[in-house]
């Protein structure tokens, strides 16, 4: 299974909660947030552009890092 790996400039739990909420609101996503490393791993039916746009709604810097195979 491949997951999309994103960088999101999160600094605290408020940030990761905000990311959680915008992704829940989008729907159709499975995701893990790695707050210390500022990474978000997403498995979704949506394309990368949609996901990146959604992450950027939090007002934080975000960028796409690539595919990552998850265990």
């Amino acid at each position: 299974l491949q997951k999309h790996e994103f960088f999101v400039d999160m600094t605290c739990e408020g940030c990761s909660n905000a990311v959680t909420r915008v992704l829940h609101r989008l729907g159709g996503v499975n995701f893990d947030i790695d707050l210390p490393n500022k990474k978000v791993y997403i498995d979704s039916e949506h394309n990368v552009d949609t996901l990146l746009e959604t992450l950027k709604k939090t007002g934080k810097n975000a960028s796409y890092l690539g595919e990552k195979s998850a265990q």
């Binding site: 605290c12 408020g14 909660n17 905000a18 909420r21 915008v22 939090t58 007002g59």
Partner: protein, 71 residues
């Protein structure tokens, strides 16, 4: 210009505050915005031809925070 106070839940630190201030500050018709972590609110001075309390509330919700209008 009109002023509205919006309750904001979910902010945990000053970077949460900053991201809301920066993001709303970029919207059209916003004259001034002051977000308080302690008071859990955002006081926005806006042009009522371009924004309404609801559009401002939605903008904060879209960022992943829980925003409500006090009446």
């Amino acid at each position: 210009a009109k002023s509205v106070s919006i309750s904001v839940e979910g902010m945990t630190c000053s970077s949460c505050v900053q991201s809301i201030e920066q993001h709303l500050g970029k919207m059209n018709g916003i004259h001034n915005i002051k977000v308080s972590l302690e008071d859990k609110n955002a006081v926005v001075i806006y042009d009522s031809k371009l924004q309404t309390p609801v559009t401002l509330q939605e903008a904060i919700c879209d960022m992943g925070f829980d925003a409500t209008l006090a009446d």
